[in-house]
């Protein structure tokens, strides 16, 4: 029996979150150090898993399966493929950097790290799940700690409203998806929640068309799909830094990932039927998100809406239903995850010092916070899709996939317009450039307003490690995509072999 690496990755955070409660609440430093050790350990394991995945064999690896509730065919069933493995790595990276960034939290750090780790366990659990029930179980675990994290440690002005809005949106989506999943379970007649077995089952076309929207949109709410994106920027803004990083960096991917794994891979005919609508909505995400971001005065809102816009690209890539598009979507999920985590880390460091995120009243921070400035600019380049940065590596295949989706899948009435969709998306990326450059210029350059003079301290060593790591990954993926793109491509091919029909 091999080392159960995925179980260890999934369960370490939740065990640590229980262990943290053994500390008296006033031993804050010990609590932080324990959290950091656990996060480092988990991150190390995800790196190890990532590089020991055998790409020649591909398919699902590190598989573990145990009966959970045997009489209903529920099992604890985990394994990773080319799509989910980068997500696991991303989660490991975000929990590690998130703990570093949250060092300064002084209000009940024990509870904070416990809930954060619980959230991390939930996220890991979803990414490695090969069983529908298992996926849903961990999906819910990933959702509700957000409420507490935002409501307790969030930005005082909007935290209660934002936390409740977020929780209700995500919970409504997930329970609707649950009913769809139960319908699949009973209609298939297989008596198992095993996703791989369900993939092989041919549901009737009528069944798929009826249930696909429930399942797909139920999960896509978490990916911030228009018009259900509203919770997302509000939540980003209200959340404390590490939670924003988690939320935008990882949690939104959870929605896209589950929508792909459950919605599209189990109900491919339904996906093909609803595809025009999805493409249309995703396009609105891309364009509308970018335009709204341009108008924002609050730094976090800019990034929040840019997330809405970029997640639209992920959905577009998934909706192409061809290998290029799905590869691009996978890369975009990883790249965008690291990028927003970086953005929010930078904004967090900035806010801790300036105590405002109002763009017009900031300025000239490059002299005081050079690390933050450089990292933010790198993130900005990724966001604009500059060649040499990971954003380009991700967005190019999405556009290629979209372009060819139009020529191949001519049965859809929108097929002739796919080239237009590509062009509109590219223009939206240009809008991204305009608002990112505006933010960089206003916040980091120019003259520092007089009220900040003198009391802006430089970033701490831990902050530097966190943002430098994230920025380095973005450049590394941009310059040398070879360590990830083939992996995701292999995952995309196995997705294609399940949904077929291109």
């Amino acid at each position: 029996m091999n080392f159960p690496i995925l179980s260890v990755i999934t369960l370490t955070p939740v065990i640590v979150s229980c262990l943290l409660f053994l500390f008296p609440s006033d031993r804050k430093e010990e609590i932080r150090i324990t959290a950091l050790i656990a996060a480092t350990f988990t991150f190390g394991l995800t790196i190890y898993a990532y590089f020991s995945y055998d790409m020649d064999v591909a398919g699902y690896q590190f598989v573990e399966k145990y009966n959970w509730v045997e009489s209903l065919g529920i099992s604890y069933y985990v394994g990773v493929d080319g799509i989910s493995l980068p997500m696991v790595l991303l989660t490991g990276m975000v929990i590690f950097t998130g703990v570093l960034i949250s060092w300064g939290i002084d209000d009940r750090p024990r509870e904070f790290f416990a809930f954060l780790f619980l959230l991390a366990s939930g996220v890991f659990g979803v990414f490695v799940a090969l069983d529908l029930f298992h996926l849903f179980f961990f999906y819910e675990i990933a959702v509700f700690p957000m409420y507490l994290l935002i409501a307790i440690w969030g930005w005082k002005v909007t935290r209660e409203y934002a936390a409740m809005k977020l929780t209700l949106y995500l919970f409504i989506g997930s329970v609707l998806a649950l009913v769809g999943m139960l319908a699949m379970y009973f209609v298939s007649g297989l008596g198992t929640f095993d996703m791989i077995a369900l993939q092989d089952h041919e549901f009737s076309r009528q069944f798929q068309i009826f249930w696909f929207p429930f399942v797909f949109f139920g999960f896509a709410v978490l990916a911030g799909i228009f018009p259900f994106h509203n919770w997302s920027p509000v939540g980003h803004v209200a959340a404390p830094t590490a939670v924003s990083m988690f939320h935008a960096g990882v949690l939104m991917k959870l929605g896209a990932f589950a929508a792909l794994k459950v919605g599209i891979m189990l109900l491919p005919d339904g996906a093909r039927y609803w595809l025009p609508l999805i493409v249309f909505l995703a396009l609105i995400n891309v364009v509308y998100g970018a335009f709204v971001a341009m108008k924002q005065q609050d730094l976090k809102y800019v990034i929040g809406y840019s997330s809405v816009s970029h997640m639209g690209l992920v959905t577009l890539g998934v909706a192409t239903l061809n290998p290029q598009g799905i590869t691009g979507a996978g890369l975009q999920m990883f790249s965008h995850g690291v990028m927003t985590a970086l953005f929010f880390a930078c904004v967090g460091v900035l806010y801790d010092r300036a105590h405002t995120r109002d763009i017009p009243s900031l300025g000239g921070f490059s002299s005081k916070l050079p690390w933050v400035t450089v990292s933010f600019i790198i993130g900005g380049f990724v966001s604009m899709g500059m060649p040499g940065f990971s954003g380009f590596v991700a967005e190019l295949p999405i556009m290629l996939g979209l372009w060819s989706a139009g020529s191949i899948s001519s049965e859809y009435f929108i097929a002739p317009y796919f080239t237009w969709i590509v062009m509109i998306s590219v223009i939206a990326i240009a809008i991204t450039a305009s608002y990112i450059l505006r933010v960089v210029q206003r916040v980091f350059f120019g003259e520092m307003p007089s009220e900040f003079e003198g009391h802006i301290t430089s970033s701490t060593g831990k902050d530097k490690i966190a943002i430098a790591l994230l920025a380095a990954v973005l450049v590394l993926l941009g310059v040398f995509p070879g360590w990830m793109a083939p992996l995701i491509h292999s995952g995309a091919r196995s997705v294609m072999s399940v949904i077929g029909g291109v």
Binding site: V14, F21, S25, N67, W68, V69, E70, S71, L72, R108, E111, F133, F137, F138, E140, I141, F144, Y147, L148, A151, I152, R159, E160, M164, T167, L168, F171, I172, V175, L176, L178, V179, L182, A183, Y185, F186
Partner: protein
Amino acid sequence: MDISSYQVSSLIAILPEIGLLVLAGTVLIMDTVVRDDRKHLMGVTTALGSVLIIVLALFYARPTGESIWGGMIRDDMLAFVLRLSFIFAGGITAIFSLNYKSVAHRGDYYAIMLGAVIGMCFMASASDLILLYLAVETTGIAGYLLAGYARSNNNSAEAGLKYFLFGAATSGIMLYGFSILYGITGETNFVNIAEVLLSGDVALSAVLGIAMLVLVGIGFKIAIVPFHFWAPDVYEGSPTPVTGFISTASKTAGFAILIRFFIVGFTGSEYWLPIVAVLAVITMTFGNLVALAQTNIKRLLAYSSIAHAGYVLIAFVAYSDLGVASAVFYLITYVVTNLAAFGVVILVSNTVSSDNISEYAGMSRRSPFLGLVMLVSFLSLAGMPPLAGFFAKFYVFAAIVKSDMIWLAFVGVLNAIIGLYYYLVVLKVVYVSPAPDGSRPIEISNISKIVLMILSFGIILIGTASSPWFDWAYQAAIELF
């Protein structure tokens, strides 16, 4: 009854009830002989005795699945599992009662509570109209006394009287239904009644009428709309440990007779199911919507418990082995979870002497432990993993989807969201609102702390290693079909 049929096995089957009776006698004797400063020993004895009975029952009184005592009692898994949960609830309630001044040092209080538990045990196992009615009355009368136990308190007196008036009226209506049923079929045993009804000689209108009359009595016990009016006032006025007891054990006992009477006795005549489905929808929606507006934690839990009865009714409406299994599982988790919630309420009200939700502000700072127990129990009630309530709701929705009533599943999940909202609002007060100035830490006795830890651990255990519990519930269910 034939004397020769007395067998050791028949006695062993009612070992828990015998044990409870002995325990009640012991506590009454202790009340007269124990010195005043050691009166708390009676509560401890009740709790330890309950634990002992559970352990003995697990080892020696496993169900045989047979009808005993001349068909009066059905010794099956359903009865076994539910009886254990009643005794468990009784034991936990005894410990909680130690923290509640007006009942803590009264031997008769514990004895009456054990009497109620005996009644519930027979409700779960009764397979005959006569024993069923006796059991319902035993439970009911003990319950009225418990609710009004704090006589000097007007609210408690009101609660006792209200509970009594509602209970007497509804059980009278139920008895009327029983008498018509006996008049038509000439039988009192559920199995024989089912045979007569299956033969098709009985008019449909009579069957429906009887079902409705009996449903009134059961509806009162399980507090479903429109027989719920007593619940908020009784919950609010009763001594809080009693509230916890009534809202968990008594409700579960009501469901036990609902399941057995309608599934064993009314086999093959499911015309009344749509009516129950409508009641389930109304109950859930009403309970959840009214709970939104509550400012008193006991009333909030009262309305939430009305809503929970609605979820169990959904499982019942599924009318399948999976449905009954999910109902039984739901009840088990509900007992454990709600007891934990009421445990916190009791301990908090000891310090702040009020049950207003606003008094819970900053509780996670005044007592991180109680805050955490509250978090676990409320999120479990809301149906969040990895807690027991998640699996419970999951099984219920699975059962109803399997029975092809998708619309009911949608009503259920949307209701779960309303529930989530008000549970989160309370948790927000506990975790986010600042504590009032000058507030003291909340003191918890060690024994309460241990019990709350056991309950919280149980909630997490059922919510992760769900399989053995579900298998019990499933076994209970397939024996009925």
